[in-house]
Structure formats: C-alpha cells, structure tokens
C-alpha cells in the first residue's frame, strides 16, 4: 500500500509538471492583459519540435532549446494580431491553437510511433533523496520537474518583486496610466506573450521527450486548456500555480489507481475536466471577488494619438 501511495504521488508530480509550466507562462501573459488561448497549439508545436530535434541530434537539451525558440516565435503571431492589430483575442488564440495542432501534425507525421531511445537521467538530489517518503516523491524526479518549480518561483519573484514585474502587472491593470509613466506598453505585452509561448513549448517538450518519449498527433490532449483554467484557479499567481498544477497532476494519476475498482474508465477520464469546473465553482462560491482577472484582460489597447 505504501508503495502504491508513493508511486502515485511520484507520478502526480510528473503529470503536474507540464501543467505547471504552461500555467506559469499563461499567468505571465494574462498579467500583461493578453489572453492567449493558443496554449494547446503552442504546446503541440513544442512537443513535436523537441521530439524531432532530440531524435535527429541525440541531444535532448538541444531539443528543449529548439522547442522554446519555436514556441516563442510561434506566439508572435498571437502577439501581432492581438496587440498590434487589436484583434479579438479569443478568436486569435483559437486560430493559434488550430494552426499549432495542424502544423505539429504535419511536421510530426514521419515520427509517429517511433520510440525515443535517448533517456533523460533523473536528477537524484544527494542526501535529500534519502528522506523517507518525500525523498522518492520530490527529490528523485526528472529534470523538468525541478525546472518547472524553479521557473514558477522565479516567475513569482519576477512578477511580484521586480521592476519589470510591476510594469507587466500595471500594463494588465491600467495600460493608459502605465504608458504615461514612460513604459512602452506594447513592448511589455509582446514580451509577456512571447515568454508565455516559451513556457507552453517547454511543457510540450516535457510531454514528448520525457513523459511519453514518443510523438503522436494530439498528444497534448487538452492539457493546454486545463492550464488556462488553472491560471484562473491559481488566481494569476505563479506561486499558487505550483500546488494547483500538482493537485491536477494527482487527478490525472488517480484515474489509473481507481481503474482496478471497476469504475468505468470513461468516467475516470472525465475527472480532470469535471474537477476543473468544480474547482472554479468552489472559488466562486467561496469568494466571487477572488476571481477578479487583471482588469484589462482580453481588452485590446488602443494607443492614443500622438
């Protein structure tokens, strides 16, 4: 029983990792006032690029870097339509998702079903990994796990404790006032969207080269959308995103735990989606004010005539 619990929690951490990465990116993006519904598509692009580069070069870290670069470049499309052209951000994000799922499907077609033989070694942290229970769960994971937690904490620091963070947050709350302070609002928004894209792509890279070590079309399986919901659940705070993401990782894993009990597998696959709705409902019932998004989220910003 003990072993089952430990391995479940261990797997919950793995399953929560891409959610944490994508959620952190979306938090930064939304804090600047841009809603990016393209997470799912960027994630798919990241997954396929990381897989192809890793497979052809044999270097997983090269794959990761390539994925981040492509994810950032790909997000510029959304940045351009929603910031420069002030287009509807919902539709633009959906278009990005469609394009990302499509392009990744086309790029990855020759690679479907090919297993990745290159393995990323787990990072077993000396001493800490010997702690009973916790050592196995928290301190002997794959590299992405630590990267995700580090980046979430760094992003929290960036948003809450640095000058750039204040600029990002105030851009999302009141762009006009921010601009009168001499901040280039457009630049901040572009930067936030592009950083967010990098995060989403990194999440995708985790899926293809570490989590499943293979590529298949549509392997993101709605995780990008869940990350968008988690952004709300985390109340736009990367610190809260950490436990939100791993809680959801747990919900993903619990499916496999409950399956032997004879519960319909289809009901179990519904769990993450039902949980998303229930949790949003709970936050709203408890304190509706908490759901306050950045004031100018998804509102196109028009620069005054100069």
């Amino acid at each position: 029983m003990e072993d089952i619990i430990i391995s479940t929690l261990q797997r919950a951490m793995v399953a929560g990792t891409p959610l944490l990465l994508a959620t952190t990116g979306e938090v930064i993006c939304e804090r600047s006032g841009i809603l990016n519904l393209g997470v799912e598509g960027v994630m798919a692009m990241g997954a396929v690029v990381a897989f192809i580069v890793t497979m052809t070069t044999g270097h997983p870290w090269l794959g990761v870097l390539a994925a981040i670069a492509v994810g950032m470049a790909f997000s510029i499309i959304h940045a351009f339509t929603s910031i420069t052209l002030q287009a509807n951000q919902v539709v633009s994000g959906l278009a990005l998702t469609m394009l990302g799922l499509g392009l990744s499907g086309m790029l990855g077609k020759p690679y479907v079903g090919k297993p990745l033989s290159i393995k990323m070694e787990d990072w077993v942290i000396p001493y800490f990994s010997d702690i009973p229970y916790l050592g196995k769960i928290l301190f002997s994971q794959g590299p992405f796990f630590y990267i995700a937690i580090f980046l979430a904490m760094a992003s929290w620091f960036l948003l809450e404790r640095t000058r750039l963070g204040i600029q990002i947050r105030s851009t999302g709350e009141n762009p006009k006032a921010t601009e009168t302070q001499g901040v280039n609002v457009f630049k901040i928004k572009y930067l936030s969207v592009i950083i967010g894209g990098g995060f989403s792509a990194l999440a995708g890279a985790h899926l293809s080269i570490s989590y499943s070590k293979s590529w298949i079309e549509g392997m993101t399986a709605g995780r990008g959308w869940i990350a968008i919901a988690l952004t709300i659940f985390a109340l736009w705070n990367p610190g809260r995103a950490i436990w939100a993401a791993f809680l959801f990782g747990g919900i993903f894993v619990v499916q496999y735990l409950l399956q032997p009990l004879g519960i319909s597998p289809n009901f179990l696959s519904m769990l993450p989606y039902i949980a998303t709705l229930l949790i949003l409902l709970l936050i709203s019932l408890k304190d509706p004010k908490k759901l306050n998004a950045p004031a100018m989220l998804a509102e196109p910003y028009k620069r005054g005539e100069r």
Binding site: I77, L85, V91, G105, W225, L281, S284
Partner: protein, 359 residues
C-alpha cells in the same frame, strides 16, 4: 522618413467588407502555399486539388453540401452567441448531446410511431439536448462568473466521455457484434436522402430556415437587440434593466440547440446509429467558429461560408488520399484562414495612410 498613420473607419460598405474578405482569403492562400512548399508538396496542385475535390465534380458538390449542413446549423447559432460576446467553444459537445438525446428518442419510440411524428420528435429531442448542454455554461458564467471558454471546452470533453460510456456500456447494440455503438435507429426515424447522395434534405431545409429565422431574431427583435447590448455594452445593458441571466440562457439554448440539431442530422441522416464521438463529428463545432467569423456574424452569410468551409473539409479529405498528407492539413488551412480573417478586420475598421516627409 515614412510615417504610418491609422485612423478609424466608420462607414463600412458591404462591398468593402466583401473585398477585404476576399483579399484576406487570397493572402491566407499565399501563406498556405508556402507551408505546402516546405512540406514538399506542389502548392498549386494541392490547392487546386482541394477545390476540385469539393466543387469540381458532381460527387464533390454533393459531399460538400452534406458537410455544410452541420456547419450552417452550428455557425448560425454561433453568430448569435458571438454577437453577445458569449464565446461558445462548446458546440462540439452540444452537437454530441443532441445526438445522444435524438438516439435515445429514436430507439425508444421509433418502432411505434410513424415517420411524420418521430422525425420532428427526434429533432426536438436533439434541440433540447444541445440546448440544455449549452445552458450550463450560461448559468456558470452569469451566476458564478466562470469563464465560458473554459466551461464550454470542459463540457466538450465531458460529453464525449459520456457518449463513449453509453455506447460501450448500457446502450451497446446487439447488432454491433461486440463493437461499441448503439443499434440502428428504426427505419421510421431515419432521414430521407436526396437520391444518389448523402444529403439528408430535412436537416438542410431546417438549417436554411434557422439561418433566416435567426437573422430576423438578431436584426428585428428586442431579444436580438438585447443580446447585442449584452456583448457590446454590458454597462448600458445593466442600466437599461436587461436580465443578463435570461438573455444568456436563451441565446445559449438557441446556440446549443442548433448544434444539437446538427447532431440529429449526423446520427439520423448519415450514420443511423450512435458511434464514437470522433465518427459522429469531425470537428464541426470548431470549424463552425470560423464559419461564423467569415460570415461577419451574420446568420444569412453563414450559409455561404458554411458551404465554403465544407468544401475545404471535403477537399482536405481528397488531398489526404491523393497527396498522402496528414489529417492535420485541414487544421493548418483553417487556422491560417482564421488568422488572416481577423487581421483583415483591422484593415476593414482602420484606414492606413503613409505619410512621406523629408525629415
């Protein structure tokens, strides 16, 4: 030095709107061609194959109209929702819920009732199923301020799993020899086809009627006006005493209901039984978003843009076979088209002038 100056444009003529759309589609085609080139496919051949596959033969046209039926139904429903800035991304789930309700009605009452009673009954059931599934996000949004993009999407996944649970479990038909799926609907509940095609004309007529009725609702009734106010100026709407919950519930019941009707058409007109979600709908709920957008949120135009995108679906199938391209190709085409369409909106609403100065 060149200075780019943009000013808002107020009087937008239909002609300008139409020309902008055409130019955007052409620009999108250029980008799609580049993507095809990179993928190692001759773009001129591929694009002409798409349009020849869909509009170039009698068979292609028949298939295009068949696929246009669900797109027109869902697309018109979305024009209403999007006008109220209710971002219904859940038409896929609403379609499936309509299919579930219709299948249950058909299997339960179909044997005992003549076609002229059971057919309207399954359409009604489908509308109710889709409408109820669409009403949930409306309640969640207005009463609990839960973002409708998230809720409609989550409900898509949930509905697909419910459907699968039914067809592998309690509804699994004895005639399927162990494969998942319900029994065939009784003959009286199956929709008639135009001979030699798969066009279930009852649903086609219904789709066009719905587009006409909805354009009357949007442009001529108080409800249509209220729906637009809810989307464009919620503060004014609150001041004017518009009941947001009631308005959102009605518009989402209509939008979901129309997607439900599309589900009825797919089950009773094409498949004749309830199978896996992916076989009932090939992403119609998502493609219809572009249909509504290309139609500039006008239900009547959605008929034309529905046929256009049905053509791309049919042509996309054709090039998958002839050029060995993956199924995702259609998504690339759709995504690119949508991006260029929203870019076009900017040039439609803004006048851009270049000022040359010596400085």
């Amino acid at each position: 030095m060149i200075k780019i100056k943009t000013t808002d444009r107020y009087n937008i003529t239909t002609l300008r709107s139409f020309m902008t759309n055409i130019l955007c589609l052409l620009a999108a085609l250029v980008v799609i061609s580049i993507i095809f080139l990179i993928a190692g496919v001759n773009p001129i051949y591929a694009i002409s194959e798409i349009f020849l596959g869909s509009f170039g033969s009698f068979y292609g046209i028949k298939e295009t109209i068949t696929k246009a039926i669900p797109l027109i139904l869902i697309g018109t429903g979305l024009t209403l929702a999007f006008r109220a800035k209710f971002w219904n991304i859940g038409a896929e789930g609403q379609l499936l819920m309509g299919a579930i309700f219709a299948t249950w009605t058909g299997l339960t009452f179909g044997e005992a009732l003549p076609p002229y009673i059971i057919v309207p009954l399954i359409f009604l059931a489908g509308f109710i199923g889709g409408g109820l599934w669409g009403a949930i996000p409306a309640i969640l949004k207005i009463k609990y301020s839960i973002n409708e993009v998230i809720s409609t999407l989550m409900l898509n996944y949930i509905c697909a799993e419910i459907l699968t649970m039914l067809i592998v479990g309690p509804w699994k038909g004895k005639t399927r020899f162990g494969f998942p799926g319900t029994n065939n609907l009784p003959d009286s509940a199956i929709l008639g086809l135009i001979p030699g095609s798969r066009i279930h004309y009852a649903t086609l007529i219904l789709a066009i009627l719905c587009a006409i009725v909805l354009s009357v609702i949007i442009y001529k009734t108080r409800f249509g006006y209220e729906a637009r106010v809810v989307g464009e100026n919620p503060d004014a709407g609150k001041y004017a005493g518009i009941n947001f919950l009631k308005t959102s519930l009605i518009l989402m019941a209509i939008s979901g209901g129309l997607a439900g009707l599309a589900g009825v058409g797919e089950v009773a007109g094409i498949h004749h039984y309830l199978g896996y979600p992916a076989s009932i709908s090939s992403g119609y709920g998502f493609t219809a978003i572009i249909v509504a957008w290309l139609a500039k949120l006008n239900p009547l135009y959605a008929i034309i843009s529905g046929i256009f995108f049905a053509g791309i679906l049919v042509g996309g199938d054709a090039i998958q076979i002839s050029l060995g391209l993956p199924a995702a190709t259609v998504e690339i085409v759709n995504g690119t088209l949508l991006i260029f369409l929203i870019m076009g909106d900017y040039f439609l609403n803004h006048k851009i002038t270049f000022q040359f100065s010596s400085k």
